[in-house]
Symmetry: C2
Subunit: 315 residues, 2 copies
C-alpha cells in the first residue's frame, strides 16, 4: 500500500481485514503513522458496534509500516498505489515501483483520472501495470474500475481481478480510457441534472435528493440503468426502449446544461444541503454512510437475485 492518504488507508484496512500481510509506505512517514492510528480507531469502533467477535480484531497486526520503498515492496504480490493525481509524479512513482518490485507483482494505481498507457509509458514492466480505481472508501464500497494500459498483459488483468475478488471487491473491467471513467461520468450526469432542476426552480435540494434516496436509489442499489430499464416495461429492456423511444429521446434532449458553479450558486446549494442534513457533523455522516452501506451489502449478499451465479463482473 503506497501512499497513506484517505484512499490508501482504506485499501490498507481492506487488505488487512481480508487476511493479507500488508506493508504501508508513504514518502512522509507521518502519513503512514496517521493511517495506522486511524485503522486502530476504526477497528475499536467496529468491535464496539459488533460486540467484537465477527471481525478479526487483530487484523491491525497484519499491517507493517515500512520506511523505505524497497522494504515495502519486498516479497509482495500486489501493489496498490494511491499517491497524488499528477502524471509526472505517478510516472516517477511507477518507475520506482517497476524497478524494485518482483517481476510478476501487479502494480495497480488508484488514479481516477489518468490512463495507465501514459503512466507506464516506456516502462520495462508496463505489462503488469493497471489502473484499479476504487470508490471511496474501498473498504466499504466494493466496486473497483479496472483499466489496463495499452501494454498491460491479459495475465495482469486476470491476476488483479482474481485478487480483488478474493478480498471481497467487485472489479469491473473497462475496455478503453475515457475522461472520468464510467463511475464519475455516471455520477456527474446525475449531478448535472440535479443542479439544473434546483436552479430552474423545479424542486429544492431536499426534494431532488428525496427522489433519489427514497425512489430511484432503492432500485439502483440492486440494478444499474440497464437492469432497471428491463423492469420498466413488461417486455423488458427492448420493450422499454422501443415503446417509450419518442418520450426518452424528447426527455434526453431536454436535459439541462452544465451549471456555472459560480460561488453564489455553490453557496446556495451548500446552504440547502446543510439544512437537509440537519447539522449532522461530517464525521458522523460518513460513519452512518459506511455502516449503512455495509448493512445494505449484507441484505444483497443474502439474496443476490440475477447476480447469484456471478463471481466477478469482468466481461
Amino acid at each position: 500500500m503506497i501512499g497513506a492518504g484517505v484512499i490508501g488507508r482504506s485499501w490498507m484496512y481492506l487488505f488487512a481485514r481480508a487476511g493479507c500481510q500488508t506493508n504501508v509506505y508513504d514518502a512522509d512517514p507521518k502519513q503512514s503513522e496517521k493511517a495506522i492510528a486511524w485503522l486502530h480507531d476504526e477497528l475499536k469502533l467496529e468491535s464496539e458496534a459488533h460486540n467484537a467477535g465477527d471481525r478479526p480484531s487483530d487484523c491491525a497486526s497484519l499491517v507493517t509500516m515500512q520506511k523505505s520503498l524497497e522494504q515495502a515492496l519486498f516479497d509482495v504480490r500486489y501493489v496498490q498505489e494511491s499517491g497524488p493525481e499528477q502524471l509526472e509524479r505517478k510516472q516517477e512513482m511507477f518507475r520506482e515501483l517497476d524497478r524494485s518490485a518482483a517481476p510478476d507483482t501487479v502494480l495497480a494505481s488508484s488514479t481516477s483520472t489518468l490512463d495507465m498507457s501514459s503512466i507506464a509509458t516506456g516502462l520495462k514492466g508496463a505489462r503488469r501495470c493497471i489502473v484499479a480505481h476504487p470508490v471511496n472508501p474501498p473498504h466499504v464500497v466494493p466496486v473497483v474500475e479496472l483499466l489496463p494500459g495499452k501494454e498491460t498483459s491479459p495475465d495482469a488483468v486476470r491476476q488483479t481481478q482474481e485478487f480483488l475478488t478474493s478480498i471481497g471487491q467487485k472489479p469491473v473491467l473497462l475496455l478503453r480510457y475515457v475522461h472520468g471513467f464510467v463511475l464519475n461520468r455516471l455520477q456527474v450526469a446525475l449531478i448535472r441534472e440535479a443542479i439544473d432542476l434546483v436552479i430552474q426552480g423545479v424542486a429544492d435540494v431536499d426534494a431532488v435528493d428525496a427522489v433519489v434516496r427514497d425512489g430511484l436509489g432503492l432500485r439502483w442499489a440492486l440494478m444499474g440503468p440497464f437492469g432497471v430499464g428491463n423492469t420498466n416495461a413488461d417486455g423488458g429492456l427492448r420493450d422499454y426502449f422501443s415503446r417509450y423511444r419518442g418520450a426518452l429521446i424528447g426527455l434526453m434532449n431536454d436535459l439541462g446544461p452544465t451549471p456555472s458553479f459560480e460561488s453564489d450558486q455553490i453557496e446556495r446549494l451548500g446552504r440547502a444541503t446543510d439544512e437537509m442534513l440537519g447539522g449532522m457533523p461530517q464525521t458522523e455522516l460518513l460513519r452512518w454512510r459506511d455502516r449503512m452501506i455495509q448493512k445494505l451489502r449484507l441484505v444483497k449478499d443474502a439474496d443476490p437475485g440475477p447476480a447469484r451465479k456471478k463471481q466477478t463482473h469482468a466481461s
Copy 2:
C-alpha cells in the same frame, strides 16, 4: 382507486395495507376483477414469505369493487386516478370526478407526463386537484412526486402530503411543471450516459450496471446527489463543488449525446441485458426487486441518519 391497471392495483394494495377502506373502479369491470385477484395472489405470497403474522392478511377485505363511478366516490376522502396518459381522457375523467366526489375530497392523478393546470382547467373543483406521481410499484417504492396545478389550494397540497405520509409514502413537492418531472429526468440522465458508454466501447452493459449496483447505487439508496456530494470532500458540498469545479465542468461538458434508439442499437443492448440477467424470468426479477426494496427500506428505517428528524420531505 380509479383505473385498475398495474399502477392502480399497486396503489390499491398500498391503501388497503395501511388500513384504508378502498373502493376500486375501472370502466372495464374485468380490470377491477383482475386487480383484486392479483392482490389476493400477492397477499398469499407475502404471508408464505413471512410465515404470516406481520401483515394484516385480511387487508383484501378492505377493498370493494364498485361498478359505477358514483358509488366508487361515495363517502371517499381521497381519490387516486391512474387511467390512460392522454390529456383529453384525463380532462374528461377529472370532470366526472369533480362532479361526483364530495367537495373537499382530494382528486389526485398518477400521471407521469401531464400538468394538473391543463387537466383541471376550467373545473369548479380545480383547487382540490393535484398530481401525485408514484414510482412503480408504489406499494414498494415510497417516493411520490406531488405537483399542484395553478389553481390547486395549499390546503389540498397539505392534505395530500399528510395522507400519503400517514400510509408510509414519502411525498416530494415539486415547485413547477417540467417535462418528465424530477424522477424521470434524473433517470434518463443516467440512462443516456450509460448507453453512450456502451456505444463508445468504454464498457459493456454488465460493467456499467455493476458500477451502479455495487458502487454508486449503494450510496444513492441512502443520499441523493447533493447528500453524496457533501460526502465527496472533507469540507462538504461547497468544498466538493469548488475544489473540483474545473474537473466537474470538463466532465459534464464531455457527457454523451442522446442515443438514436434505432432497432439494432436496442437489440444489442437488450441482448446484453438478457445475458447479464442470466435468463431470470421477468416475474421472478420483479418479485426479487420488490422483496429487496422492502428489505433495504427496513434497514434504512432502523437507522435513518440525517433523515431521522424529518417526517415529510415537503419543502
